[in-house]
């Protein structure tokens, strides 16, 4: 049926019975329509009232309903709102009552966090812990909220920090076999900067016979990276992928962590050992990314440079090389080639600094990914005045070498 001829009750509704979740859905005809029809229903309703708003009568009411449709569809797009939370516009909410379920508590905490309402985050967390002591779902929500707070507000008071520890300890005491509680504890410890404790917690969990979720190892990896223990971090990322049984989401997150925490900080390569380490780290990251197209695509440039960085580039005199080859019956050729060549990373580091180095530098630097990759690094080359400074293009190099065109 055409939206403009519709006699469906929900299309005619001018406002929801309340601003609770179920009534907002009802305003858009869910039910009777299934929830996947939400987008379609919003459009049907909007078109119906747009027609009315442009009609000969009742324009003001229709315009008001159109505004309701716009506001409420936005609320639903941002995420379902519990029945006891009322959107008041400008992204703000009013809480009409205490949470009745752990899911509602989680939603309230999320909304308060989004609104930057610290006092209510803490008050709601305390209320939740008192109402559902030891409930793993509640502990997880509280840990998530408080760790977000601790990350965004370093000035957070000691009482809140202590409460976060107490809450997760209580969870462990009540339900020690629940991996989510261990995850919550690790999250809080990490947020409070207790990186060593995070790594130690894993031993305790494993000792308790708990099978930890992949996300847990991700947290441990973050703790290691923050503590400067790169091998420890890489090891934890590998375990997170193993624990997930190759879950694409975990692989994607772990690949991103490898790039951000390990590979990019290793650039630019400044020694033979560093080139070898980079190559090894890239191999691990490529293994993590394997099977996830976006992650593999991201890894490609690292893999290209890992290979090229160790490849040797001839920097000697080609005429001399030919002459020596003929003179020695080609016996001295390998030796000369080795003596007169440099690894790619060194040629790149030397930069386009003199007439001799321009041509071979551009041969290394002009790859599709090399500049893009090094732009991610905050450490400039010696020949750059600042990180992020654009590299000379091949055309510029040619112009320079030929004295301009």
């Amino acid at each position: 049926m055409s939206p403009i001829e519709s006699d469906r009750d929900w299309i005619q509704l001018t406002e929801p019975a309340s601003l609770g979740q179920s009534d907002i859905f009802g305003f858009f005809g869910i039910p009777p329509s299934p929830q996947e029809d939400l987008g379609k229903n919003i459009k049907l309703k909007r078109q119906f009232w747009t027609k009315r708003a442009n009609g000969p009568g009742g324009r003001e009411l229709a315009a008001k309903v159109k505004q309701n449709i716009q506001n409420l569809s936005k609320v639903l797009e941002e995420g379902a709102v519990p029945d006891r939370i009322v959107p008041t516009g400008d992204g703000k909410y009013e809480v009409l009552g205490e949470a009745q379920t752990p899911a509602e508590l989680a939603a309230q905490l999320e909304l308060f966090l989004r609104a930057g309402d610290l006092a209510n985050v803490v008050a709601t967390a305390r209320f939740g812990l008192a109402k559902w002591p030891g409930n793993a779902e509640v502990i997880a929500s509280i840990a998530l909220a408080l760790s977000e707070l601790a990350r965004d507000y370093p000035e957070l008071g000691d009482d809140v920090r202590a409460f976060a520890i107490t809450a997760t300890d209580e969870g462990l005491a009540v339900d020690p076999a629940n991996p989510d509680v261990w995850l919550a504890k690790a999250r809080v410890l990490l947020a409070l900067g207790q990186t060593t404790a995070v790594a130690q917690l894993e031993d305790k969990a494993v000792g308790s016979g708990v099978i930890l979720p992949p996300e847990y190892f991700g947290l441990v990896a973050t703790a290691f990276f923050r503590a400067g223990d790169i091998p420890g971090g890489i090891s934890s990322l590998v375990r997170s992928v193993e624990a997930s049984k190759g879950d694409p989401g975990v692989k994607s997150v772990a690949t991103d962590a490898m790039m951000r925490e390990v590979l990019i900080p290793m650039l630019p390569i400044t020694s033979r050992k560093a080139a070898q380490d980079f190559s090894q780290a890239v191999s691990v990251a490529a293994w993590i990314a394997d099977g996830v197209p976006e992650a593999e695509a991201e890894m490609l440039k690292f893999r290209v440079w890992a290979t090229q960085a160790q490849s040797r580039v001839f920097i000697g005199d080609l005429a001399l090389k030919s002459f020596l080859g003929v003179l020695t019956g080609f016996i001295a050729l390998p030796l000369y080639s080795k003596l007169a060549s440099r690894p790619g990373w060194r040629v790149l580091n030397d930069g386009p600094t003199n007439e001799d180095s321009w041509a071979r530098w551009i041969d290394v630097a002009d790859g599709e990914f090399i500049e893009e990759l090094h732009m991610l690094s905050r450490t400039p080359f010696a020949w750059q005045s600042a990180p992020g400074e654009k590299w000379p293009t091949r055309q510029q190099v040619i112009e320079h070498m030929t004295g301009g065109v």
Partner: protein, 508 residues
């Protein structure tokens, strides 16, 4: 004697003439401009100025300049704040102001062509009966005989030559002007008959609203940076409104535009990018998109059926709208050859045809007179089975004009002697969403029992005048009639006074 076509626009108007051979010319004002801003300035000495000079005076004396009055046709209050326009104690209604613009256009035509015998005046397709009546009244005030009130998209289609090269094609006309928005779906059949299938729109949406959006963005910036509220300062406001219009026009071709803004002696500047502008009007773009989809659905066609998308009206230059249409229909829209003049030119072509002085050998002689449709339904207020008052629809929207509908209703109570005929415009039964456009009485001449039949005939004439007749359902005798040949928001006496006043008013 000569016939002319007039585009009576919200922000700009134009007049054109088509000769017997079908050659069309847009007539220029004395200053050479073929576009006349629809602005009227009432000088303190009593003189009245219409056009560009009046628009320029809006900066100096905003309270004495009337603009955008077409949006209030049929109503007394048309200004943004909902107030009447009053100068020196006299309230000027939109019909009178439009009458002054029409008089100016008529003068332009007569200066060049001699006496004018009739005109076709265009209106937005989505205008209702009161707005059309008010436009007719405005022409009457200007002493201009109206051959026909023609829908703007139809006029644009005629001017664009849609009829000659488009046999068997379906056309969507997107007309976004200075103050109104129309979308019309039409078909040209093999006999070159041009038939409107559906029309929709919003006669309070147009370029002026986009100017307003930019004005508000400037106002917010100026408030933050300089601490001056330009919305409360009429002098600054008018200047900013002009700058806003320039910025909006710039952004049709440029990615960003910067204008100096002078606020209380403190110069500042304002830069707006096309992306920021498009973001600010995104809700309006959604509305426009919805109206296109609704109208297409009402026409019974789909996006794949549309052969030509014709862009009309100055605001259709805003790139986001052509992008929208290209996305919706999968083909680049065609822009009317002259966005600002084609409506007047199309009206003049039809005026020449209807005026009867066309060379029978010219192509114009073969032009089929287009058939419009009723943009809104018509009905009367009746009681439903639950004894609740509802709109009993007699003529549905989309019926070809002239349209006619008949429906039988029944006496509500025993002993009923007469019937109150409340005539409504709208396509819904719910009275909250229709507009009462007239009323009258019908009398049986005797008490009749509950359930006694009364037949209601409603006609929407070719001249787009609504006529309602009531008949005794058993005897067939006519028992009442109402003809809505009205004068906009004015009474008959007011109209006579206005005709005299406008006739005496010398225009500059």
């Amino acid at each position: 004697m000569t016939t002319i076509g007039i585009d009576l626009g919200t922000t700009n108007s134009a007049v054109a003439v088509t000769d017997a051979n079908g050659i069309t010319t847009t007539l220029a004002e004395r200053d050479g401009a073929r576009i006349l801003p629809s602005c009227v300035y009432f000088a303190p000495d009593g003189s009245v100025v219409v056009g560009q000079r009046a628009k320029a005076m809006a900066v100096l004396e905003p309270d004495r300049v009337a603009m955008l009055f077409k949006r209030g046709m049929g109503e007394a209050n048309f200004q943004f704040d909902g107030s009447e326009f009053t100068v020196d104690g006299k309230v000027w209604r939109p019909e009178e102001l439009s009458g002054l613009v029409l008089k100016k256009l008529k003068q332009t035509a007569e200066d060049q062509l001699g006496p004018v015998s009739g005109a076709i005046v265009t209106v937005p397709a989505y205008f209702g009966e009161p707005e059309r009546s008010a436009t007719r009244a405005a022409a009457e005030l200007a002493g201009l005989p109206v051959l026909r009130i023609l829908n703007e998209p139809t006029a644009a289609a005629i001017a664009h030559g849609i009829d000659s090269g488009s046999r068997g094609k379906s056309i969507l006309v997107f007309d976004l002007g200075g103050g109104t928005f129309d979308v019309t779906v039409m078909q040209v059949d093999e006999d070159r008959e041009m038939r409107v299938l559906a029309t929709g729109g919003n006669h309070r949406l147009g370029g002026a609203d986009f100017d307003r959006v930019v004005v508000e963005m400037i106002a917010q910036r100026v408030q933050e940076e300089v601490g001056v509220d330009i919305l409360a300062e009429p002098w600054i406001f008018q200047e900013v409104r002009e700058k806003a219009e320039e910025i909006k026009k710039d952004l049709s071709t440029l990615e960003s535009s910067t204008k100096p803004i002078s606020t209380g002696g403190r110069p500042t500047s304002f830069t707006l990018t096309r992306a920021e502008f498009e973001s600010a009007i995104s809700d309006t773009v959604d509305d426009v998109s919805d109206m296109i989809e609704i109208t297409l659905e009402e026409s019974g066609l789909t996006d794949r059926d549309i052969d030509v998308v014709l862009m009309v009206g100055g605001s259709s230059r805003i790139p986001v709208f052509s992008d929208l249409l290209e996305k919706m229909f999968g083909k680049a829209p065609t822009f009317s050859r002259n966005l600002d003049e084609d409506v007047a030119r199309g009206a003049s072509i039809l005026a020449a045809k209807l005026g009867g002085h066309v060379d029978p050998r010219s192509e114009l002689a073969e032009l089929a007179v287009p058939q419009d449709v009723a943009s809104h339904g018509l009905g009367i207020t009746v009681n439903d089975d639950d004894d609740q008052e509802v709109n009993g629809i007699v003529v549905r929207a989309g019926e070809l004009v002239p349209a006619h509908g008949t429906r039988t209703f029944y006496a509500a109570v025993d002993g009923q002697t007469d019937v109150h005929l409340r005539i409504n415009e709208g396509d819904e039964e719910d009275l909250a969403f229709v507009r009462q456009i007239g009323d009258g009485r019908a009398s049986f001449g005797r008490p009749v029992p509950r359930g006694y039949p009364i037949r209601i005939d409603i006609s929407y004439t070719e001249e787009q005048i609504v006529e309602v007749f009531a008949y005794d359902g058993q005897t067939g005798q006519q028992i009442g009639a109402v003809r809505l040949d009205r004068t906009g928001s004015m009474s008959g006496e007011e109209k006579q006074r206005a005709i005299a006043a406008i006739a005496e008013t010398g225009l500059q």
